[in-house]
Every structure is written in C-alpha cells, then in structure tokens.
Amino acid sequence: MSHDGHHSVVIPAPGPEFVPHTVAHHFDTPVQEFQAAKLGFWLFLATEILLFGGLFAAYFYFHESYPETFRLGGRQLDWKLGALNTTVLLISSWTMAMGVRSAQTSQKQKTLMYCALTVLGAAIFMVVKFFEYKAKNEHGLIVFSELFHPYDGATGSIPWFKDYHGVMAGVPHGHLFFAIYLTMTAIHGLHVVIGAGLILWVMKGAAKGRFHAGYFLPVDLVGLYWHLVDLIWIFLFPLLYLVP
C-alpha cells in the first residue's frame, strides 16, 4: 500500500531482459529490506527445526524404549534407495546454490536451468520415495489402504500393520518403528513438495526477469528453504536406515 507524497526506492534493472525492483514503502534502503526478510526467514527456519525436533525427540525416546524393534525395523528399509535419495538431495542442494549464484550474477538462463535441475532432483526423490512406500505396502508393514481404519481395542491389532512375512515377530510394538518412519518421512516429503513448488514460483519470476544482481531476495530465501529440506534428510537417513 503506497502512499502519495512518499518517494519509493527503485533498484534499476541491469539489462533489457530484466525488470527493476521497487523497495517496499516502509523500508528506507534496499539493504534494510534484504536484511529484514533474511532475518525473518532464518527465524522461520528455526521454527521448522523445532517442529522436526519434536519428531526427533520421539524417535530417540522410542529407540531407547524398544531398541530391538528399531533394530529389526531399520533392517526392513532399503539403505541403497535411501543412499540414492541422499545423493540426489545433496546434488540438488548444489544446483540450488548455483541457481542463487546465477541470480546474483544476473545470468537469467543459468538461474532457470539450475532451478529446473533442482526441481528434477525433488521429483526423483519423490519417485524413489514412492517405490519405497510401495514396498512397505506390499510387505504389509504400512498398508496404505487401511491407514485410517479404526483401531480395534479388543483384538489389539493395528489395521495398517499386517506384517505378512512376520519380519517383526517377537519384538514389542513392531508397528511403532514404521509409524515413526512414515510420520517423519511423510512430513519431510511434504516439505520436498512445498520446496519444489516454491522453486517453480521462483522460476516464474526469473523468467520475467525479476531477479538480478540488484535484487535476488526470493531466490536466496527459497534456496535457504531447500537446503533445510536437504539438511533434515541428512539426519533422517542415518537414523532410520543406518543406525539399526
């Protein structure tokens, strides 16, 4: 909401393929705007870490309570697929960093290319995740079609945990590992999808020439978000796939 009689600061475009950026009316300088948004975004990332912190605390608590369950459960995960996804996310973090750098140096085509590669990484990650979930579904460890069926207190059996091959027989509360695995990876997967959506949004702006050496804030912030998504996975992978 601009106000008549108040001048606004405009950052000129470095070339004809770019558009200038108008600093929001309540900031005096571009630097103030940049720093405010960046500080705010770091605080937001802190809240994300705390949100996942609750899940990690639950993981450690039940790992401590039922070590055998977690040992056996972890063996049911395919560490090779996990490692593949870790590699994909690490590479995508690099492409994202290159995307931010390209925006900072006003290289429009490179920004678009690196962002597209990052989205590709997100897509590969989700496809691999899909096949991992599918395998769990087939083994009756997470039966997705019965996920939301009511729990029968009388028989004490959880509708989505069938364990067709009896791999978790003999350990207490075998479903617990898979419940925590599903909750953590699904919330992380949701962040991957949101991150990919944000990168697509940044690409839309980049195609219009909004981002250049004078103004690249949204690219920078979405990049930070993507690195956080990557970082959380770097903790999830060893805890779920390797520690057991």
Partner: protein
C-alpha cells in the same frame, strides 16, 4: 543528552493534509480486509480477540452457574459440562490471551514506538491475522461437529479415546500456533531492523522490550506445540502409538511435549502484560521508570528460565524424583526477575505525580492481583505443597489470578490507555472507573473462595461436588456475576465512546514515547516525517504540555 524540543511537532500535521488518518484514509470492505497497515490489522485483531474473550467469558459464567449447587444446575450430563469448561479454556487461552495483546495493542503500538512506518513484514502480518481467523473458524467448526471435552490441555490418553472433535480443534490450535509464530517473527525483525535513527536498544520503551521477549518465546516454543497437536491428530487418525499406552506409547511424553510449549506460553501471555504495566506506571505517575534496564533484562531472563521449568506441571505424573527437585528449584528462579519487575513498578509509582484515571486504576489493581498470583505460584512450585494442591481449585485460582486478574486487567489498562490514541475519542472516565471497581471486586470475590476450597481439597474439573463446598462455590458464582457485569459496563463504555465522539487530546496522558508524538489518530504512514530520537526514554522534561491541551481535529 536531553533536549526540551519534542521529537515530532504534533501541530505540523494540522497545517498540512488536514485530518486524514489511518481510519478514514480509505473506505470499503477490502480497504480493511486486504489492508497491510499494522494499525488496521491491530484493530481487526482487537475486534476478533474481543469477541473470543466475551464468548469465553460467557462459557465461564455458564460453568459457574452450573456449580451453584452440588449436583449441578444447568447441564444435562457431565460430558456437556466438560465441553463447556473446555470451550472456556480453549477460547480464552488460544483465541484470546495468547494473541490479544501482541495482536491488537502490539500491532497498533509497536511500529509507532519504534518510529517505523509499519512492521517489517506487513503481508506476513495480514497472514497472521487470517490464520487467527481460520483457527477461530475451525474452533467453531469443532463445536458444530459435536464439541470437545478434553480440557484445553488435550491430555493423552483421554484425548485419543474420546469420540469428540479432537482432530478439528487440534488443527485449529496448529493454525493458531502459526499465527502466533508469524506475529513473533515479524516483531523480532521489526525491532531489529526498523528502529528510528537514534532509538538505541536502551531507549526503547519497555512495552517494546516485553514484546521482543514474548516474540522469542513465540518463535521458539510454539512449533513444539504444533507438532504435538499434530501427533495427537495422527494418533487418532492412524494410531502411531507415540502417546497411546495400548500401542507402546507414553502419555507422559505428551505431557512433556505439551508443557515444553505451554509453560513458556504462560510467559507469552504475561510478558506483554508486564510491558503494558511498565508503560502505564511511568506515564500515569509522570516519572521515569525505576530500574529500566533491570525490567528490560528481567523480561529476557523470564523468557530464558521459562524453557527450563515445564516439569513443574507434572509433579504427580511420574517423573524421576531428581528431575522434580530440579524443576521445583528452577521454578523458584522465575520469582526473581518477576519480583524485580513488581518492586520496580511500585518504586516508580512512589512519589510520582499519580493520575488516578481509569488506566492507572487498572494498573494498580494489577499490581495487587499480580502479587497474589505470583506468590501463590511460588507456593505451587514447591514440590511437597504441590502434591497436596495439584488438580485442586487452588491451582485454578492461582492461574486465574495471573491470566484473568493480571493479564486481562493489564490488557484492559492498555486498552483504556491507547483508546484515545487509536480512535481520537475519549471514553466516559466515571463509567470506566465504575467498571474497573466492579471487575476488581468481582474478580477477587470469584477466586478467593476458590483458593480456600482448593486448599481444603476441592478438585478441579468436576461437574458435581460434596455439599460441604457449596458456600464457597456460591460465593464464587456471585463474584463471577459481578465480574461479568463489570466487563459488560466496560464494553458498553468503549462502544458508547465511539458514538459520543468526545474528542481526546493529541497527547491524552502526557506520554513521551514516540507513539504519543505523532498526531492522534496516527496518519497512514504513522509520522509526517521520519523521526529521529535524541532523548533518553521516559524523559518527562521534554513533555509538550500544549499537545495535552490540543484536541484532535
């Protein structure tokens, strides 16, 4: 260091653009619903949280009426009673006490006090408000879907087994949590990046310091509540087994998660109230605050200590004895910065030029009530006494002395104080003072009997009770009615002032912080020209008496 020249000449505006201000600069539904102006968002928060407060108060009156006689007066069964007191708790905590002061007065005043044109992230600010609205709608939806009877704490395993709309209200709390997080985040960035030139950290008004400490808590504690209610919802939807003992889970883990947020949340609620009181004791005693830096740092100290004491809610839940020692010991530490504030406020009033107007009466009522609320907290923090008092009306009375008697009264104080600033009109002082008296008497009449019957073993949350407790319950119910009448008079007084349009003064009370040095009501961008601060904070030698005698245009 000090000069006698006001930072902003309030009369300059008069020669310029006339009386255009944030209320009348644009019209129409979308100029409000889509506004990015912090003052308009603050007003919308005020209306929203005000309605939530009145609804929550109505639920409380129903509960008190039901408890008039031992076998209950109103509700058809215990479930209905449980639903109504849950509604009271959930509405008051999540829709009123947490968002009210930062959302309404904080939004309104913080950028003014900093000499900024707006908060740092105005669009995020509007999003916060709409998340609050979404949360309120979800809460209403949960009532339509059959209500919820878990208490505002959602304790597992009951919250996992009950057949009521726990998932919906859980979602409401999750959304409200993010509303609160974004407000906090916004305020932190605003304080760091948008202070006017010359406004150093130790020239900031204490309301700003208090909101800053609150914001740290909002950002660092609320996400844990978010994941906790989400896990309760997941537990109900697909039986994770984290909190459900039948599935290998641990209900005490829920309590740890819940209080890791909800104890700091107590300070999310009370720190802004401290901030208001700090402003008001100074302005209405026309004296610089005693112990300015100590009050500022004690806000931060409370914020830090609040993260280390959550276990004192769980002395009877099954923790290790050593953990309980530590939690009890650490709880006493909260009393130190809190007492520093209380004594500093009293010392500020001492030998001041005290104006006994409505905001100051509320402030003095706060000082008395908060002393009782704080000291009974120390009683409950001691391990052995708490075993006896746990889950009795003593606890109920204690936290109402803090939440209602202290926080809501501080909110009312702040509302009377900034009302002329917000609207440019004055309320009827006499009526406001009568309302304050009714609220003070009614409040104490409600909760002193609860202290007594609690110490004699009356358990909380029960729909019926043994006849021996009836006199206390009757006294408490009568008190609640007086309190309700007091609040009704106060609301009437505010609403009437908007119709009577008795003009306020440019600087109604003689404040010297930046919020009083801009025209009343403030123009859209707050200041005719960007202010520069050259004075120390609360330096009343710079007070421009002419602005106190110039009515708004």
């Amino acid at each position: 260091m000090t000069t006698n020249v006001p930072v902003i000449d309030v009369h300059a505006e008069a020669h310029g653009s006339g009386s255009t201000h944030y209320l009348n600069c644009s019209k129409g539904f979308w100029s409000w619903a889509g506004t990015l102006d912090h003052k308009r968002i603050g007003l919308m928060y005020l209306i929203g949280t005000g309605v939530a407060f009145l609804a929550g108060g109505l639920f409380a009156l129903l509960v008190r009426l039901h408890l008039w006689q031992p076998d209950g007066l109103l509700f058809k069964d215990n479930v209905q009673y449980n639903q109504i007191f849950t509604l009271h708790g959930a509405f008051m905590v999540f829709l009123f006490v947490i968002p009210a002061i930062p959302g309404s007065l904080g939004n309104m005043v913080l950028p003014l006090m900093l000499g900024a044109k707006d908060v740092a992230l105005p669009r995020l600010n509007l999003l916060s408000f709409y998340l609050w609205v979404t949360g309120a709608v979800l809460a209403a939806l949960a009532i339509i879907l059959g209500g919820f009877d878990t208490g505002w704490t959602f304790y597992a395993p009951y919250s996992l087994y009950t057949d009521q709309a726990v998932v919906t209200i859980g979602l409401a709390v999750f959304v409200l949590g993010f509303s609160s997080i974004f407000t906090g985040l916004n305020f932190i960035v605003t304080v760091h990046k948008l202070r006017a030139p010359g406004l150093t950290w130790f020239r900031m008004p204490l309301f700003v310091w208090a909101l800053y400490a609150t914001s740290i808590l909002q950002v660092l504690a609320t996400p844990v509540l978010g994941i906790t209610v989400l896990l309760v919802a997941f537990e109900r939807l697909y039986h994770i087994g984290i909190f459900d003992p039948r599935l290998g889970g641990d209900p005490v883990l829920f309590e740890h998660f819940f209080w890791f947020y909800s104890h700091p949340a107590v300070y999310i609620m009370v720190l802004p109230a401290f901030g208001i009181i700090s402003e008001l004791v100074s302005v209405h005693s026309r004296k610089p605050l005693f112990g300015y830096k100590l009050i500022a740092f004690s806000s931060l100290a409370i914020a830090i200590i609040s993260f280390l004491v959550w276990g004192h809610h769980m002395f009877t839940s099954g923790q290790s004895t050593y953990a309980m020692f530590a939690f009890s010991f650490l709880t006493f530490f909260v009393a130190i910065p809190t007492a520093i504030k209380e004594f500093s406020w009293v010392a500020t009033v001492w030998k001041g030029s005290i104006a006994l107007n409505a905001p100051m009466l509320y402030t003095l009522a706060f000082l008395i009530i908060f002393a009782i609320g704080g000291l009974t907290g120390v009683i409950l923090g001691s391990l052995n006494v708490d075993i006896h008092l746990h889950d009795t009306y003593f606890v109920v009375a204690h936290f109402h002395y803090v939440m209602m008697g202290s926080i809501a009264l501080a909110f009312f104080a702040g509302l009377h104080h900034w009302w002329p600033k917000m609207f440019g009109v004055m309320y009827d002082e006499t009526m406001a003072k009568i309302a304050c008296g009714l609220i003070f008497v009614g409040f104490n009449a409600t909760f002193i009997p609860q202290f007594i019957m609690g110490s004699r073993g009356m358990p909380r949350r029960y729909a019926t009770y043994v006849p021996e407790y009836q006199p206390y319950h009757m006294a408490s119910t009568i008190g609640a009615m007086i309190l309700g009448v007091g609040v009704a008079v106060m609301v009437f007084c505010f609403v009437a002032s908007l119709f009577q349009r008795k003009k306020a003064m440019q600087n109604q009370w003689g404040g010297v912080t930046l919020d009083w040095l801009t025209p009343t009501p403030p123009p859209l961008e707050n200041f005719a020209e960007a202010p520069t601060v050259t004075n120390e904070v609360y330096d009343y030698s710079t007070l421009d008496y002419k602005a106190m005698q110039t009515p708004v245009r």
